[in-house]
Amino acid sequence: MARLTVAEALRQAIKEEMRRDENVYCIGEDIGIPGGWGGAFTVTLGLEKEFPDRIINTPISEAGFFGIALGSSLKGLRPIVDVQYGDFLFCAMDQIANQIAKLRYMSGGKLKTPIVIRAPVGFTGRGAQHSQMMEPFFLCLPGIKIITPATAYDSKGLLKSAVRDDNPVIIFEHKLLYGAKGARSEAGSIDASSEIPEEEYTIPIGKGIIRREGTDVTVIATLLMMHKACEAAEILAREGISIEVIDPRSLVPFDWELVRKSIEKTGRVVIVEESPRRGGIGAEIAATIAEEMIDFLIAPIKRVAAPDTPAPFSPALEKFYVPSIEKIMTAVREVISLSS
């Protein structure tokens, strides 16, 4: 067992998978440069030493290299494509949404497109174009799986599953969870490191996890928000409020069973998401609950989310923008007080 940060765990997953299968390769900007950073957040740092031919450093041409990843996957390669910031997925959106997500379906199932897309997300004082939570833009896009690991353990296990999956998978990595160590760690980082077993393991895509058991309110949250939800639960526990925190870990497919069981028990649900409220992942979760589990509910559903604006730069504004532990607690208290 060794304690690894998320960045280290991701790197280890990539390394192990590249050793296991020579078809796995990485493609993206500023990777494999001696003296460079291993992508924007060190995840691929140093991998070029062991795999000099399988770390492909690209020009700044996102649409191009996403399409290249797709083309290469049709001949058996298994690209791990990364963008430096999730926001830049928009530059490659046609390749992702119109091609990568659809080519297998259009072929009548005759093709496989095993592609992993790695995208860092999260608000970190960089303003509107280097911050967005990109999940909502892909949740509504059929044809791609989505994983959102919140710990180092999950990051490794889920990324390995993603690499082995024969379908396109996007992994959203949170900038504030990569690790508090190292030159490229972020102000405001949270420790999401884990003990990583010596022996190999994977985590199935589509299985959520209960991060904390509780009986009064179910709180559903991923990535950074999962950590904030746990902190809120900790504080509320002292008030005698018992929170069950669910981390879906995958958005597509989604572990509805886990949510159902929890809501059956608690009758109340708060969904926390870092992106703007309108059309976010919380909308889909709330809608499905309202369709299929409404009978369990003894209170209105609550969403805690960012406001419907781009991300502001000023720390004074960003602090208000990103859902806080306080806002989570308020929402929990609200659903309790509104219970029938």
């Binding site: 399409g67 390749q95 119109n98 091609q99 009548g108 044809g143 024969d166």
Partner: protein
């Protein structure tokens, strides 16, 4: 280049097969029997046949919203193509693709990408796979003149160049992107001039001369296969049909259209074959066979069942 008669006749057969296929499809549309929309290939047959004849088994192409000619030139089964057009389960994409997404990877055809410029990076990625896997295959990327104004053209050619990938980019310059004449949307006189921005060879040739297309394609394909990198090949041709299903193409000047029809590749190649001493009867025979083949394809398609509604839910994930 000296080419055997058999091969010449095979070029002829394929060009005629494309033409007759497209004419039959047009008719089926006009009759209202065929669903969807189509972009047809009449007039450009020498491009598909010339280029694809230069390929070997294992080579791969990407194609566009106007894919029928390329598919046939690569040897795809026209029964399965016709069934696909009719949305039947026996189609090459099991009815999920339709005209704009025709393909059969077994035959070296990636399902067509109907986003203009969308296939250029994909072909480039095929080239990258061949290089990384040390396979001696070549990827050919078909595109129209209009596609060369998309950003993906620039990004892809640049990456193919810096990585020295085995990709031949084939621009079929038919002088129109939909209703827009090429002179309205770029200033270069030859699209092949753009190759210099990536330091790759760019050449422009008569795209209606199937032998010229074949021999120059072979040159560039073999150059790529030998590890000498990508190239841009511009084929000058003309779309003698509308852009899509119901386009009367009123924006094409009469004079221009007339000249183009004079210059169309099958007419020209027929003359050439006859000048070699091949009899009209031989050619007619080929045509007849082709027509029978097409009628069989139509029958096969129309006799084939539709996919069942629930098939909609399949083929999304492996």
């Amino acid at each position: 280049m000296d080419i055997e008669t058999d091969k010449l006749l095979e070029f002829y057969r394929k060009m005629v097969l494309i033409r007759e296929f497209e004419e039959r499809v047009k008719f089926l549309f006009l009759e209202g029997i065929m669903p969807g929309t189509i972009h047809q290939y009449q007039g450009q047959e020498a491009c598909a046949v010339g280029v694809c004849s230069a390929l070997k088994k294992g080579d791969v192409i990407t194609t566009t919203h106007r894919p029928h000619g390329h598919c046939i030139a690569m040897g795809m089964d026209i029964k399965e193509m016709m069934a696909e057009l009719f949305g039947r389960i026996t189609g090459c994409c099991r009815g999920k693709g339709g005209s704009m997404h025709m393909g059969d990877i077994e035959k070296g055809v990636v399902p067509a990408i109907a986003i203009v410029g969308g296939g250029i990076p994909v072909a480039t990625g095929l080239g990258l796979a061949f290089k990384m896997k040390k396979q001696n295959y070549v990827a050919v990327c078909f595109m129209g003149d209009g596609a060369t104004n998309e950003g993906t053209f620039h990004e892809s050619l640049n990456m193919a160049s810096i990585w020295n990938l085995p990709v031949v980019y084939v621009v079929e310059n038919n002088f129109y992107g939909a209703s827009t004449h090429v002179s309205l949307v770029m200033k270069v006189e030859r699209i092949s001039e753009r190759a210099s921005a990536y330091r790759m060879p760019g050449i422009t040739i008569d795209g209606n001369d199937v032998l010229e297309v074949y021999s120059r394609s072979l040159e560039l394909v073999e150059r790529a296969r030998a590890g000498n990198g990508p190239a841009l090949l511009e084929l000058l041709t003309y779309r003698i049909t509308g852009h899509s299903r119901r386009d009367p193409a009123l924006y094409q000047p009469q004079e221009e259209k007339k000249k183009a029809i004079e210059n169309e590749p099958i007419k020209r190649f027929t003359k050439y074959l006859i000048s070699l001493g091949i009899s009209e009867a031989t050619l007619e025979q080929i045509k007849d066979k082709v027509r029978i083949e097409i009628e069989e394809a139509v029958k096969f398609a129309m006799d084939s069942p539709y996919p069942s509604p629930e098939d909609t839910l399949k083929d999304i994930f492996v």
